[in-house]
Symmetry: C2
Subunit: 335 residues, 2 copies
């Protein structure tokens, strides 16, 4: 039988009101003496507050919900770590829900769960919400923010990402600086994220007078297989590949090895993400490394602002190029 404040009230000969005040430390509304008694008895009884009751009466929750995709995104963990860190500091609880990335049904289910619980805010990580579901989210009135996805065509929806255009641009320029002219970008999809990365790539190419062949842009879904296929398809048409995720880059690296192509001597490979995966392979992959943990931290901070009724802006964070050994100077074609 779980103890309630009623039990504590009985034991201490105080009212439930006073017990409640003491347990919530409403300073000034109780005496030191009562407090001591109550805390003592609460401990003896192993009292645990009932969140359902608290939330029902206060109509607000101390819970942040995080929705992540159930498919393998190897960076979600890092974002969550950032979220946890800030949440802990602010005394908030975090619950995580898996939702399929492309399955509107599963998205809806996760969303319903979260809305039923009237959490104080929702952070959506790397999920393209189906538009009906985005509508549900909006109408719920619960503050939300998209992390690591952009959705630029909707003014009400803020997001936090790394500067995708600049990552594409800078990474491509890094390869160009190493003497590469025939460069492919592999594994981006047709979402904003993908378009921006490709946009950055194109601008860098064009600024340097290189017009990409059609097949230098290989679309995909940021997967290992996208990278592997591209290598086989492109063969020696390019001297460098920019993978739009670490997974793409590793897929490309392994396929190259399996095809007897030497990385980086015959083919340079670079990636966008820069998770530990790039350190687990040999050669280590040079990457535009996103500040995932910061995305999570800023996410919570912005969400709290929104919950306070403040206007917040979408954020595009910076990044850095972390070098591995997967990019070589292109001797053959350098001037």
């Amino acid at each position: 039988m779980k103890a309630t404040i009623k039990d504590i009230a009985r034991e201490t000969n105080l009212s439930v009101a006073t017990v409640s005040r003491i347990l919530n430390n409403k300073t000034g509304y109780f005496s030191e003496k009562s407090a001591k008694k109550v805390l003592q008895v609460a401990k003896e009884l192993g009292y645990q507050k009932n969140s359902a009751a608290v939330e029902l009466v206060t109509k607000k929750s101390q819970v942040i919900a995080v929705m992540i995709s159930s498919t393998q995104t190897n960076f979600a963990n890092h974002i969550i770590e950032g979220i946890q860190k800030v949440a802990l500091a602010k005394g908030l609880n975090v619950i995580i829900l898996y939702a399929g990335e492309d399955d509107p049904e599963l998205q809806k289910k996760a969303l319903d769960t979260v809305i039923e619980r009237s959490v104080m805010g929702i952070l959506v990580i790397a999920i393209e919400l189906e538009s009906g579901n985005l509508g549900v989210l909006k109408r719920s009135g619960i503050p939300y923010l998209l992390l690591s996805t952009s959705h630029t065509d909707d003014a009400d929806t803020q997001f936090i990402t790394t500067d995708n255009f600049k990552m594409g641009y800078d990474a491509t320029n890094y390869l160009i600086d190493h003497g590469h002219k025939r460069i492919a970008i592999v594994g981006s999809d047709h979402s904003d994220t993908g378009r921006l990365r490709i946009g950055g790539y194109e601008q860098a190419m064009v600024e340097n007078g290189f017009i990409p062949d059609d097949d230098w842009i290989q679309y995909g879904h940021y997967t290992y297989t996208d990278g592997a296929k591209a290598v086989t398809k492109l063969r020696s048409k390019v001297t460098a590949i920019l993978g739009s995720s670490d997974m793409v880059a590793v897929g490309a690296l392994n396929q190259a090895k399996d095809n007897g192509i030497n990385v980086p001597a015959d083919l340079s490979i670079m990636s966008i993400d820069g998770t530990e995966l790039t350190r687990f392979v040999r050669p280590r992959i040079t990457a535009a490394a996103q500040p995932f943990e910061t995305i999570g931290e800023k996410g919570v901070e912005q969400l709290l602002e929104k919950a306070d009724g403040k206007q917040v802006e979408s954020l595009q964070l910076g990044f850095e190029i972390v070098e591995g050994e997967s990019v070589a100077v292109n001797e053959k074609e350098s001037e």
Copy 2:
């Protein structure tokens, strides 16, 4: 303003009792006609039930809580996928909480959160609960199960793991069958899991007449660094290394490469876990592959049994050896 059943009752000229029955589909307690009206109005009003209220009155929840370690365990995702799959089928919600592995404070916080919400069950993945915290969990009266950790000295606490002893035993025998005699096991800790794996290793060695040198058993915490360090330390004292996790094995593999040691020609490497990580590196690592998804599925099923008041047993699941290219026949010493 969120709609409640009261609003629906007013609009439909029915009582809240009837509305509640219809919304919960208590067949037999309402007419088709009323049902149609209620459902219609509920939709119009965008009604979402308030879980806090439901849980307060029914005193039970439809939520399974999953506690995972915040440190990098690359297999937790797979277990969670299994959990999600079964939970979805049973109409349960899953919430995930991160808790530090070695930080009793963080464990306590996660535990409190979960107990406050009186979830229907708790699944603890790969966390060694500090004993005070285990006590808290027990006293809460909430059914729980440990996944991928064993805690054999406590009869009240059930767990689901892969057969750790047999994994150590079979993997070692696999290496012995390939002509290896000087074999190290690296990265196990002093928990039950670690002891069992090492126990299996020792038995296989001894049965084949090989007495392990002291330094062939390198303790650790299943980390990349454990693997890397062991390679440098052991040099050519052994011809094969059994990593107690994929991370250990990859660390060993990379350090070997960095030290100019050829895998598998000069050193064979094997691992326990068998996640996708073993497929991302070259050579692919031969591994005793745990059925993580099944662990998750069985976890939910057993938890539900427990919630029904049934007695459940701890489970030790089978596994299979998945071959890569990281183990070679040891020519030099084979008879």
